[in-house]
């Protein structure tokens, strides 16, 4: 037992050596870890992003823009410690513990698993946590406490209205989703509940991992669907270009869930613009930093308005066109690009 204790202590000391800090520094500041030389007073914002992904990247960019637009200056009012968990829950946990140990002023969790890890690590110290890109903060139990943020819940009804505008005769919408992604499961549920109001039936097909998505796409196409719609499902969106090859051959239009998907060939989308979502989140974070409000007081926000994105060339390939009813308000992604 003694030996064991000695070894444990040795490990502690070794870990301290590795992290390059001497035990004699009593100061809780976190200078050793951030790239920029930080003076003690500048609050650190720890950003924990769940993985590398266009939408999540946009969220982060937007978040930084939101902070700046609120009048805060990086390096003066705050510094950023950005970490990416590479879709690994264990790493997300360790990132959050790192932030907590360094006593950051604010943690920002991008996507559910990172936000959950941040909130767990902040439990004892009550460090405010702000999240973004979470579909259902209530179900994730992140809706109360010293935490707030923005939800990226899909505008399911807007999407179905849009599909009805573009394909007045369509009956069946196909959806591919991952059964282990809570966001997808709840979105599919909402589609199934509301489809009949818009005269659709939903043909949803679940997969458990990315390797199965293309097989599932073949199955879905064979089921005589009139179109497909995407969720914010990472596994499915990750192989979207290959899905689009298959659907283009079968002449089935695919609707995206956000602008990036329309850019790479989906016909249209009533969707979220993640940079805007990030900005909204950044503005909330700025309020917390300035002391204007606490995370506890602020309820979480959803996207206030949705944009309609269209890709006219992708539509034309399917023999469709932008209906006059939406032509004016819709954003042509091939032009803005």
């Amino acid at each position: 037992m003694k030996k064991f204790f000695a070894l444990t202590m040795a490990m502690v000391m070794a870990a301290m050596v590795f992290t390059g800090c001497s035990t004699t520094t009593d100061n809780a500041e976190a200078t050793e870890n951030t790239d920029t030389a930080v003076s003690e007073d500048v609050p650190v914002i720890g950003i924990s992003q769940y993985g590398q992904h266009a939408s999540l990247d946009n969220c982060r960019e937007g978040f930084l823009l939101g902070l700046e637009e609120s009048g805060l200056v990086e390096g003066v009012d705050y510094v950023i410690d950005y970490q990416n968990a590479g879709f690994d829950d264990n790493i997300a946990q360790q990132i959050a513990q790192n932030f907590s140990a360094k006593n950051v002023a604010l943690m920002c969790g991008i996507a559910t698993n990172s936000a959950t890890a941040c909130y767990a690590a902040a439990e004892d110290k009550n460090i405010p946590v702000i999240f973004t890109a979470i579909s259902d903060p209530v179900e994730a139990k992140l809706d109360s406490g010293n935490i707030t943020g923005t939800s990226d819940k899909l505008p399911v009804e807007e999407q179905m209205k849009l599909i009805r505008e573009i394909q007045p005769d369509a009956k069946t919408i196909g959806i591919l989703y991952t059964t282990s992604e809570p966001n997808s499961v709840s979105a599919v549920r909402e589609y199934e509940e509301k489809a009949s109001q818009y005269g659709f039936t939903i043909e949803a097909l679940g997969v458990t991992q990315q390797a199965e998505v293309l097989q599932a796409a073949d199955t879905l196409i064979a089921k005589d669907i009139d179109c497909m719609t995407n969720l914010t499902d990472n596994n499915v969106v990750g192989v979207l270009p290959s899905i689009l090859e298959k659907t283009n051959d079968a002449n089935i239009p695919v609707y995206g869930s956000e602008i990036e998907q329309v850019k790479i060939g989906c016909v249209a989308s009533a969707g979220i613009e993640y940079v805007a979502l990030g900005k909204q989140t950044g503005a909330m974070a700025a309020k917390i930093l300035k002391g204007e409000a606490t995370a506890e007081e602020m309820p979480y926000e959803t996207v206030s308005s949705f944009e309609t994105y269209v890709n006219p060339s992708a539509l034309a390939e399917m023999g469709l066109e932008v209906p006059a009813s939406i032509a004016e308000t819709a954003i042509d992604v091939t032009v803005t690009e």
């Binding site: 030996k3 064991f4 070894l7 444990t8 490990m11 502690v12 070794a14 870990a15 301290m16 590795f18 992290t19 390059g20 800090c21 035990t23 520094t25 009593d26 100061n27 809780a28 500041e29 050793e32 870890n33 790239d35 992003q49 590398q52 970490q83 990416n84 968990a85 590479g86 690994d88 829950d89 264990n90 790493i91 946990q93 360790q94 990132i95 513990q97 790192n98 907590s100 140990a101 360094k102 006593n103 559910t112 698993n113 959950t116 890890a117 909130y119 767990a120 439990e123 004892d124 179900e139 994730a140 139990k141 992140l142 406490g145 059964t179 282990s180 992604e181 809570p182 499961v185 458990t208």
Partner: protein, 297 residues
């Protein structure tokens, strides 16, 4: 509080909690010579059970017992498929792991969150009685330490019993077990049961610590376990006084420390895994060099 000290404490805590998983992998991989992939499924299985029971108001310590039991069942299934149905070891684990993915979803849904108002093993019972004044991070540390060391001591004791010796014999020399008129299949089965019970216990504690279950939390756990076992046993293989279980415990802490170092170095975030891999390699090579270096990690 000293940030560095706190970082060390939370890294050690992680290492201790995941050491339980590493003990399990040690039993299957090192002792039984059985590459058991059930781990990726039994880890979240333990988390799912404890999560669901906690939400229903069950005592957090009892939920750990439930996790142990259900993990044992998972190990039994793999063992049964391999020993009784004659499926190859790797495939038997893959089958159970795949099945468990769906079962975990059935038990707990895709994600489960445990509100702060619900007590966990770190915030209730004897823990609060003995050190209610300590901050949560130290409570977590002590609880994880006690569990990791306690399980280690029990395991050390067990491996010296008759049953434990048979277990060790199966991996080294299966014929010996047969000549002792024992069924080597049953011994393997027992090993898998113990191993996966420990893995599920580890998952359950992670769930309580994180206050969350996610169906993807099992991904890559077997790789972690293998790395911890190999790092531990490689680094300390020349130190004959040290028990293998101790080496595995340290290997587990070591792995978590490597990741924490990589995070703390402030490298570009996307290079995190590469940095971790390089750290491993450097340390293993250095460890090998110091001790002669003729063997491979």
């Amino acid at each position: 509080m000293n940030a560095m000290l706190e970082l060390c404490v939370s890294t050690l805590t992680q290492g201790f909690i995941y050491a339980l998983l590493s003990y399990g992998v040690y039993i299957t991989y090192k002792i039984l010579d059985f590459p058991d992939l059930t781990v990726d499924g039994s880890f979240p299985l333990g988390a799912a059970i404890t999560g669901v029971l906690l939400v229903q108001g069950v005592n957090p310590f009892l939920t750990l017992l439930a996790a142990l039991l259900i993990g044992a069942v998972a190990g039994f299934v793999t063992g049964f498929i391999h020993v009784k149905l004659g499926v190859r070891d790797l495939l038997a684990g893959i089958i159970t792991m795949t099945a468990l993915f769906s079962i975990n979803l059935q038990i707990a849904g895709s994600n489960l969150a445990i509100e702060r108002s619900i007590d966990t093993i770190f915030t209730s019972g004897p823990v609060m009685l003995l050190m209610g004044n300590a901050s949560l991070i130290y409570r977590k540390f002590v609880v994880a330490l006690v569990i990791a060391v306690g399980v280690k001591l029990i395991l050390d004791w067990y491996l010296k019993t008759k049953s434990g010796l048979l277990l060790r014999a199966v991996g080294d020399n299966a014929t010996l077990v047969t000549t002792l008129a024992k069924d080597k299949g049953n011994v393997k089965l027992l090993g898998l049961v113990i191993a996966n019970a420990l893995v599920a216990l580890s998952g359950a504690i992670v769930c309580q610590e994180q206050r969350a279950f996610s169906s993807t939390m099992g991904t890559g756990q077997v790789v972690f376990g293998l790395a911890a076992v190999i790092i531990g046993t490689t680094l300390f293989r020349k130190m004959s006084f040290m028990k293998a279980t101790t080496a595995v415990l340290i290997g587990s802490v070591f792995y978590k420390a490597c990741i924490q170092v990589a995070i703390s170095l402030g490298l570009p975030a996307n290079l995190l895994k590469l940095a971790t891999a390089v750290l491993f390699l450097v340390i293993l090579v250095l460890g090998n060099k110091q001790k002669g270096g003729e063997e491979h990690a």
